[in-house]
């Protein structure tokens, strides 16, 4: 399966981090980001329906699925992908959640701002490679 985009969105719907792997050739630019941000409202509804942080697949656009993970402080980790393999998605989102917690503990990171750290970026990319294979 291929994964297309991963974003982290803060509690005021402000983007904190974005990772794009593949753009489909026949689609307008930034369609991935548009689709994934459009699913934010649906994620908010799902948050109230379950006690888990992992929200599984919340939305579907044509043949693309969007899975989400909402943390305790309403920071949402969202993934846009084209097939359903729950285990690797759940593992990936949990590991990124742990990385996010470590970033929060960094005294120089202002909570709610964009994550600039290159090592965070590198680690997320290597996690993606580990779970989704490049």
């Amino acid at each position: 399966m291929s994964v297309l985009t991963f974003i982290i969105v803060g509690k005021r719907d402000n983007p904190l981090y974005e990772l794009v792997w593949q753009m489909r050739k026949d689609e307008p630019a930034h369609l991935n980001q548009f689709v994934i941000h459009a699913a934010l409202d649906i994620v908010e509804d799902h948050v109230w329906s379950t006690q888990n942080m992992f929200l599984k697949t919340v939305d579907k656009y044509n043949d693309l699925y969007i899975s989400a993970f909402s943390t305790a402080s309403n920071v949402k980790l969202m993934l846009l992908h084209d097939s359903r393999s729950e285990d690797s998605i759940k593992g990936f989102l949990s590991d990124v959640y742990e990385l996010y917690i470590k970033t929060l503990c960094n005294p120089f990171y202002d909570v709610g701002t964009v994550i600039h750290s290159t090592s965070f970026d590198a680690r997320v990319k290597s996690l993606a490679k580990k779970y989704f294979g490049g």
Partner: protein, 188 residues
């Protein structure tokens, strides 16, 4: 390791076991909050390092009495003994850090302290505009303050820091001079 260093290490471990403990994450996060507040106030990495060193200086002046009272150490014969005491007893007792002495120069007036790990550094990543910040500079101040109370003036600085990308943490201590005891009265 020499016999004396082994004795000091044992003294350090015993003293560490007797001390009250606090959660290291609490310490790391509190120290981090303090440093980031200093950064917001002073904005210059060198100035923040200086402030941290000053804070460490006043801590060290008080800490030396606690070390000599709580740890069962005898008087140091020369500067090398002092180095071993700081590494094996001081750092172990107060921070639980295993430190060792290296690079003692021939005259015995300089040495380096190698810290195995540094709980203050947990979770910390220095942003680019603060690459010059000596995050654990407080240790330099503590050493300087403590030794000044026992009549040694030293200069203390960081030679290597894992936060700056080096592979280990190294503090360099240089003895400047020995102070004479000052008496508050003069002979008539």
């Amino acid at each position: 390791m020499s016999q004396q260093a082994k004795n000091l290490q044992r003294a350090g471990d015993i003293a560490f076991s007797k001390m009250e403990k606090v959660n290291s994450e609490l310490l790391s996060l509190t120290y981090g909050a303090m440093v980031s507040q200093l950064v917001k106030e002073f904005e210059d990495a060198a100035e923040v390092s200086r402030q941290l060193e000053k804070m460490g200086y006043s801590i060290g002046q008080r800490l030396i009495d606690e070390l000599l009272a709580k740890a069962n150490v005898s008087a140091c014969e020369d500067f090398k003994d002092t180095a071993q005491t700081i590494a094996k007893v001081g750092f172990k007792m107060f921070m639980g850090i295993n430190a060792s002495v290296a690079n003692v120069n021939e005259e015995g007036t300089e040495f380096s302290l190698l810290l195995e790990d540094n709980p203050l550094n947990d979770f910390v990543e220095l942003p680019e505009h603060l690459a010059d910040l000596r995050y654990s500079c407080i240790y330099c101040g503590v050493i300087r303050g403590a030794l000044e109370m026992v009549n040694m003036r030293v200069e203390c600085s960081f030679a290597k820091d894992v936060l700056a990308g080096d592979d280990s943490t190294e503090i360099k201590v240089i003895l400047v001079d020995k102070l004479e005891d000052e008496f508050p009265f003069k002979d008539a």
